[in-house]
């Protein structure tokens, strides 16, 4: 038996490895840190969450957090909210808001929240009571309305049909242990603004639900 050389050609393997690295690097989208962690209930629905959403998160304590997709939308939104609540936002504030994802601060704390560093924000996320939803001072309603208008204006700029799938959708993400009344309050706020269709975010149930 001839003794074969112990070195083998690793080129194909390395090629493949690099291909995979490239693939994973390009497909990975890093998720921004969430202000609050919620454990969503599971369902058998397999509809994928649309790209362009306004997402309201309700945690176990019933605190409400707000998030809207689109950088330009957020800039416009902060402008409008500042006008409504008579708060002057600087260019820097707007820049920071444009890259921010989820927040749950009442309007009076927004400026401080924007100015805070990562640690400060975490601290504020922990102590916040969420966006107020009381009927007297329904700031969530304002965020919803202005977010909707900002997204509509942005959609018109980009030529997106408001009836298409790319238009803004409304999603609610709540913890399974949240009291339904808290979620209902959010839904009620939407309903008062003539928005009736939602996407409730759930986990996909692993056991086959179909009977």
């Amino acid at each position: 038996m001839p003794r074969s050389s112990p070195s083998l050609d690793m080129t194909p393997m390395v090629d493949l490895a690099f291909l995979l690295v490239t693939f994973f690097m390009l497909t990975t989208k890093f998720r921004a840190a969430e202000a609050v962690v919620v454990d969503t209930p599971s369902s058998t629905s397999n509809i994928i969450l649309p790209e362009n959403v306004m997402l309201i998160t309700v945690d176990t304590a019933g605190r409400v957090f707000y998030e809207i997709s689109g950088r330009d939308v957020r800039t416009t939104l902060l402008d409008r909210m500042g006008e409504l609540y008579k708060i002057q936002f600087t260019e820097e504030d707007k820049q920071r808001f444009a890259v921010m994802t989820m927040f749950g601060q009442p309007m009076k704390n927004i400026k401080a929240y924007l100015a805070a560093d990562e640690r400060g924000r975490k601290e504020m996320d922990l102590t916040t009571k969420g966006i107020p939803t009381d009927s007297l001072d329904n700031q969530l309603g304002q965020w919803i309305m202005e977010g909707y208008r900002a997204a509509a204006a942005d959609g018109a700029n980009k030529g997106i049909d408001p009836k298409s799938d790319k238009a803004l959708r409304f999603a609610i993400k709540a913890d399974g242990k949240t009291n339904y009344n808290k979620v209902k309050k959010v839904i009620q706020t939407f309903k008062e603004r003539e928005i009736f269709r939602f996407n409730l975010i759930t986990n996909l149930e692993t056991e086959g639900g179909e009977s």
């Binding site: 994928i48 009291n179 209902k184 996909l204 009977s211």
Partner: protein, 226 residues
């Protein structure tokens, strides 16, 4: 460099030439092990860090609040079923038809497979079968996407389709509500609404699930339920 060489014919240039002559042709093989190591490290990292699952959603349309009595949808009693959701996440209560304070009894129903699903399929058998038939045809390619969707919603919206009212109270958990809606979707019940419990229902309901909220079951005069 070449210019420098011609300028200074002697010293530096000559030395360079000399060195070049002496240098042996080194092997073109570069040791690629560190690079490959790194590549695999990155590969492992990205593979572990990537989650492919995008969040899934349950689509739901809530009814508009009726402003006056005429706007309210009338549901035939024999088609209506009401689910009452309490504090527990694995059971609901139900009653059929219209709520009668004296005679209506709340029945317990488990959220496990043999509970609510069996109950709903039983109620919705015809439509469920019809939709299953449609799905079969759709999968076999006999139906176009839009036709399938249209026929399915037509089947769900039939006038004889059961209507389920999901009623919540202040004790209800979000998970239970989602579970019930999910079961309704699985059983192809198209007509349903999530609303608040009425005051008339609350009292007997609390007597069953949380007696301490209404001052104990014994103190109540209408302890006829269950």
């Amino acid at each position: 460099m070449a210019q420098m060489n011609t300028d200074e014919a002697g010293g530096g240039g000559g030395k360079g030439k000399h060195q070049k002559k002496r240098a042996k042709k080194s092997s073109t093989n570069v040791d690629m092990t560190p690079m490959v190591d790194l590549a695999f490290l990155l590969l492992t990292f990205f593979m572990l860090a990537t989650t492919f699952s995008k969040p899934k959603t349950l689509e739901i349309t809530f009814p508009k609040d009726a402003e006056n009595k005429e706007q309210k949808v009338k549901i035939p009693d024999e088609l209506a079923t009401t689910f009452l959701i309490g504090e527990e996440t694995d059971e609901v209560y139900y009653y059929n038809g219209k709520f009668q304070p004296d005679t209506t009894k709340f029945q317990k129903l488990s959220l496990a497979k043999d509970g609510i699903r069996k109950f709903l399929l039983n109620k919705n058998r015809d439509i469920d079968n019809e939709i299953k038939e449609l799905e079969k045809k759709f999968k076999a390619g006999q139906l176009a996407d839009s036709t399938f969707t249209r026929l399915r919603s037509a089947a769900k919206g039939k006038i004889t389709a059961p209507f389920v009212i999901v009623k919540t109270c202040k004790l209800s958990k979000y998970k239970t509500v989602i579970d019930v809606i999910d079961e309704l979707n699985i059983c192809n019940v198209g007509k349903y609404a999530v609303v608040d419990m009425s005051d008339a229902e609350l009292y007997p309901f609390y007597q069953i699930v949380k007696p301490e909220l209404v001052g104990g079951a014994a103190a109540s005069p209408t302890a006829s339920t269950n």
